[in-house]
Structures are given as C-alpha cells and as structure tokens.
Symmetry: C2
Subunit: 324 residues, 2 copies
DNA sequence: CACCTGTTTGACAACGTTGTCCGCCCCTCC
DNA sequence: GGAGGGGCGGACAACGTTGTCAAACAGGTG
C-alpha cells in the first residue's frame, strides 16, 4: 500500500480510502490510485486489516468428518451462508475425538474467528467458557453442549424420529425389533435409543439392543447374536446411516425388515428400497449458520434451541411383513 | 499480552518468549508468566503474529462442491495433511463456476494463505500469475490449469481408465457402447471421451455419445434417444459418479450392461453390482497436499505432474452379455 | 479582499506480535 | 576485589492497515 501511495503520488490514507470505497476522494485522484494498484498488482493484506479492525470475517466449523455425507451436506450449507455474509470458512474434522475437537476450537479462537459452529465430539466444553466470555459467538449443531454451557443449538428430532421408525415397524406387524446404533455416550445415539425404547414400551427387550462399533465385523457379530436368540428379531432399526449401510452389507441376500435413521443416496435403488427416517443436513447447516450470524451481528437475546423435524420415507424395506 | 506482562511483572517480550518456548527465560519467571496467562485466559492473537512473521499457516482449498463424495474424500485427506503440518484449511466450493473459483482464490490470497490447492472450474488462470510471482505455492488437482501456467498437478489417468472400461465391455461382446458424460469443456470429461474414442477405434459412432446435463430429465431423454436408434447401444459407459447414479435411476428395472467412472458407496449392494473404474480421491488429496508442502517449505524445482492410476472393479453390471 | 464553509488530502497513532539490540546482574576466574 | 562473560530481561521498531484529527485548498459570500 505504501508503494501504491508513492507510485500514485498520494498519501497512504488516500489509498486506504480508495480501496475501501470511502467517500471524500476526488474521482481523478481515485483513478490515479486505481491505476497504480493495477500496475503493482496490489492486494490488501487482510491480516493487517483484521489486526486493526478486530473482525476477521472468518467462521470456524468443527464437524466429525467431512468425508461423511451427512457432514459434507451440512458443511456445504454452512459454507453457502458464510460466503453470502462475505466471510470465509475454516473447517476441521474432529474424528469423534474430544481432544481434537478442543484443539480445533482453540486454534480457531486463537485466529479470532467471529463465530464457531461446533458438532461436539466430547461432552466437556468448559474450555469454551473463556471464549464465550470474550464474546465469540458459538452455535452447536447436531448435538448439544454440556449442560452448563448456554448457547444456541440446532438439533434434529432424534427421539421422535426413532419413535416414528419403530411405530412404522410395529404397524407392519413386527414385535421383535432390534436396535443397532452407536455408543449411547453420543447424544444422537442415546436420543434415538430413548425414542426406540419409549415407543416399544413393555415390548422393550435389552437383549435386542446392540451398541457396538459400526465396523463390518462388529455388525456381523451382532447380527449373528441377535438372530441366534431364542426369540430373534423380525425387524431391525439402524441408528444412523453408517449402521444402515454396514448392516445391509452384512445381511447380503438375507431379507429382513429394516428402517434406518438418516437417508442416503441410492437407498431408493436397492431392492427393496430402504425405508428411512431422513434428516436434512443442509437445513441443519443453514439454520446453524443463520443463528450464528444473528449473534455475530450483535443479537444478545436468550439462547435459541431449534429442533428440526425428521421425515419417514417409505421405500419397501420397512414394509416387509413379520413372518408368522 | 500486555496485561499478562504487567500481571506477571515482566516485560512484554518475556511473555512472548514464554509463549513461544524460546530459551533464555528463568524457569521461575516462566512459571509466573504461565500462571498469569492461565489467570487471564490469554490466547495469542494469530493475526498479529501473521502480520509480523508473514506466514499464515493457512492453506486454501478450492473444490467444486464439498457435498460431492469425491471432493469430500479429497477434502478430508487434504485436511489431514494440513493439520499434520500445523496449519489450518480454508475451503470453498466453486460450484463449477469460473467466476466463483477466481473470487475464492483471490480472497484466499488476500488473506495471504501459504499455499493453494485448486480444482479449477474455468480454464482462464491468468489471474493466478501475480500470486505465483508473489511466491504463493499452488497445486492443481483433478484438472490441470490453462497451458501457460506452470504448477504442480495431480491428475487421475482419465483416458486410461476410460479405455479400460470400454475394453472390459468389448471383452464381454459389446460392440455398440454409448458414452454419457459431462460437457467436454471439463477436462476430465474430455479425457474420458478421448479414451473411450481411442479404445473403440473404428467402432466409434458419434451418435452414441451424449454429453448433456446430468439432470434426471436430461439423462432420461438421452437414454430414450439412444435406445431409439436403429442400431441402439447394448452397453453404457457413464463418465462420472453422478451420471452413473442418475443413469441407474433412469434405467429402473431395465437391465443394461454398464460400467461407470468413479466408485460410489453401495455400488456393491445394487443388483447387479455396478462395475466401475475407481479413482482414489483421498490419495489425490493427500498427494496434492504433500506436493504443496514441498513447495511451501521452499522446494523451487521444476513443476511436478503426478498421474494417479485408476482401478477396474468388477461387480456384475459390466459383465452382462450383449444380447444377440 | 477577508471570511466562512465544505471538500479533499495527509500526518500520526494504534492494533498485538516478534526481531534486534542493549543493559543488567550474578558468577567465575584471575 | 576487579574484570570478563554468560544468562536473563527489557526498550524499541516494525509488520500493513485504519481511525482521528487537522491542514490545505477551492469556492462562495459579505
């Protein structure tokens, strides 16, 4: 900028004014400055601008894994809203490790992001306290923070979706419905288990619940255990997209009634089509980002908690009848 | 930092030394400083650090769309390498719009990223010239830059993969093989078309080539046209994952021999399984990021051009025989 | 022609950090 | 006891930008 100023024969501040479109610069002077800028290929140093102004125009996003279609969709939606607000997005995958989550958040904060969207991996968020006190806007998506932290949240209706899935299977005559899902330490898994349990009521049987690793071997072993019971399940409810796919693969040609949580591409092309309870990851990202920008632009009202609806999509696998 | 210094009763510079683990500070002093840091919840302002040191420890990634599984996988791999080097990742989706690509690159450069990984949407990269001259490291992935720009590239063996796919169908008796792919203005689409054409040799028939929008309606219309020909195709080669899926959906129960470019989840679970020529997006991201860090750390050798192999995965759909 | 007003321009400080350089103190050795 | 040296701490400038304030200038008015 200094070079531009001397090239154009004006003061630093005048160049700054031109670059920022501030009024009070003679058109002819502005033209000369712009010419010098083009000539020198100058581009403003955002770091210095940030240092001076305090606003970084940057948002941080912590998710579990970008390569997971659910989070990829969420990311894209967040990105779109962020760009619309003239900001950029720093993103990182925690890989379900609380330590990594914390590192990412702290690194983002050290860079003075204006706001953070977090899909938490752990449940200790005390490390966020100083950042919140410092005025960083934070929104939690998909999973809530630890109870003591009061921030905006966007969650799906996990329990309601699970109830809907189970009810659907009950309506098709199933009485023995197994649940395969993540460790209940994960909020969404616990909520879906709760919905499953509530809907089953007296029919709930802990032996039909499997919360093991979503690896192919783990799922295979659990299916063997379940189908080896005296009173085996006639239907499966899988607790997220990964479990659904792994379970389908483990089942092979074996036809079992199944409803999965989370929609996935090609669910309609399998035979039978896979009935799912679908979330809308893009909507979740969009809502989270919009809540965040409300905060960034100064809204200091009480924290908001949005619950997004889920939708049962009937495709065939959930309508297979229970064998007599 | 000033506050920390006065709280600990030392000079600014001493705090800086402690924060950066520089030698020459008495352990006892360092301890006092650390206590003050904890007490005040201080965290270093990276913007100021960047301004002073010039290195942002930030990499920019421009892809087509994070929500596309191919780019999501690539992103994740890039992210992992970037984090390993103690840096952060700014990412943006161009949505296949050259203007957006350019905006993203320029915004990233204004923030003085140390390096850029670009999956280009357009083919005019003259705007990169000043950045390259300014020393920003750049790697192109998936698609090359315009001819005049000399940077590292990581591409897949698109033509070879297409030849392999076509050869596979020829080996199963097919003589009329249609190609459904993207606009040949897109490098990968053009390369795959080239491989297809080369492998077919004399059998190449331009009427069997369809390069229309990957929308459901567009693909449906093209299939109608192809199967309405006097001498219709007995096999299809789809030019990327999106086309493969859209085509499968359009085909419905209709069984046609098909090989797709790009692997996708659940390709094995469809009936028949979908034979594909698979790229490795994670590997592409990893290689691109590693090339980039070579440059960032000062390697000024001649530009490198990596071609990644692709792999035919046989699952059934490509082995359906040609009807007599 | 002096005066006032408004427009255009510029000088300077400040943001928070780090690199350079200097000075202090204490220890050791003569 | 004094000189030399090493370990430690501090003052200051600089990075590139923007906010504040004041100066310079032009034009209109009495």
């Amino acid at each position: 900028m200094k070079d531009v100023a001397s090239a154009a024969g004006v003061a630093l501040k005048t160049v700054s004014r031109v670059v920022n479109g501030e009024p009070g610069v003679h058109p002819q002077t502005a033209e000369r400055v712009r010419a010098a800028i083009d000539l020198l290929g100058y581009s403003r140093n955002e770091s210095a601008r940030v240092l001076r102004s305090g606003r970084t125009a940057t948002i941080g996003l912590v998710i579990e894994d970008v390569a997971d279609p659910f989070y990829a969709g969420l990311s894209r939606a967040v990105e779109d809203v962020v760009i619309e607000h003239g900001c950029l997005l720093l993103s990182g995958s925690s890989g379900e490790e609380p330590g990594r989550e914390r590192e990412l958040v702290e690194t983002f904060c050290a860079r003075r992001v204006d706001g953070l969207i977090v899909v938490p991996a752990g449940d200790d968020h005390s490390y966020l306290r100083p950042e919140l006190d410092a005025g960083t806007a934070v929104v939690f998506a998909d999973r809530p923070p630890e109870p003591g932290i009061d921030v905006d949240t966007v969650l799906a209706d996990n329990a309601g979706g699970a109830r809907r899935a189970v009810r659907h299977l009950l309506e098709h005559g199933h009485r023995r419905i197994a649940f395969l899902g993540d460790d209940p330490a994960i909020f969404t898994a616990a909520e879906r288990l709760r919905g499953y349990r509530e809907e089953l009521g007296d029919r709930f049987d802990p032996r039909l619940v499997s919360m093991r690793s979503p690896s192919a071997a783990g799922v295979r072993a659990e299916l063997d255990r379940l189908f080896g019971l005296d009173d085996p399940p006639t239907a499966l409810f899988t607790g997220n997209g990964r479990y659904t796919v792994t379970t389908l693969r483990a089942l092979g040609r074996q036809r079992v009634a199944l409803v999965g949580f989370d929609d996935f591409e090609l669910a309609d092309l399998l035979d039978p089509g896979v009935t799912v309870v679908a979330q809308d990851p893009a909507r979740m990202g969009q809502v989270a980002a919009e809540l965040l920008f409300h905060r960034v632009t100064g809204d200091a009202g009480p924290s908001q908690h949005v619950e997004l609806p889920v939708q049962l999509i009937v495709r065939g696998s959930g309508e297979l009848p229970a064998k007599a």
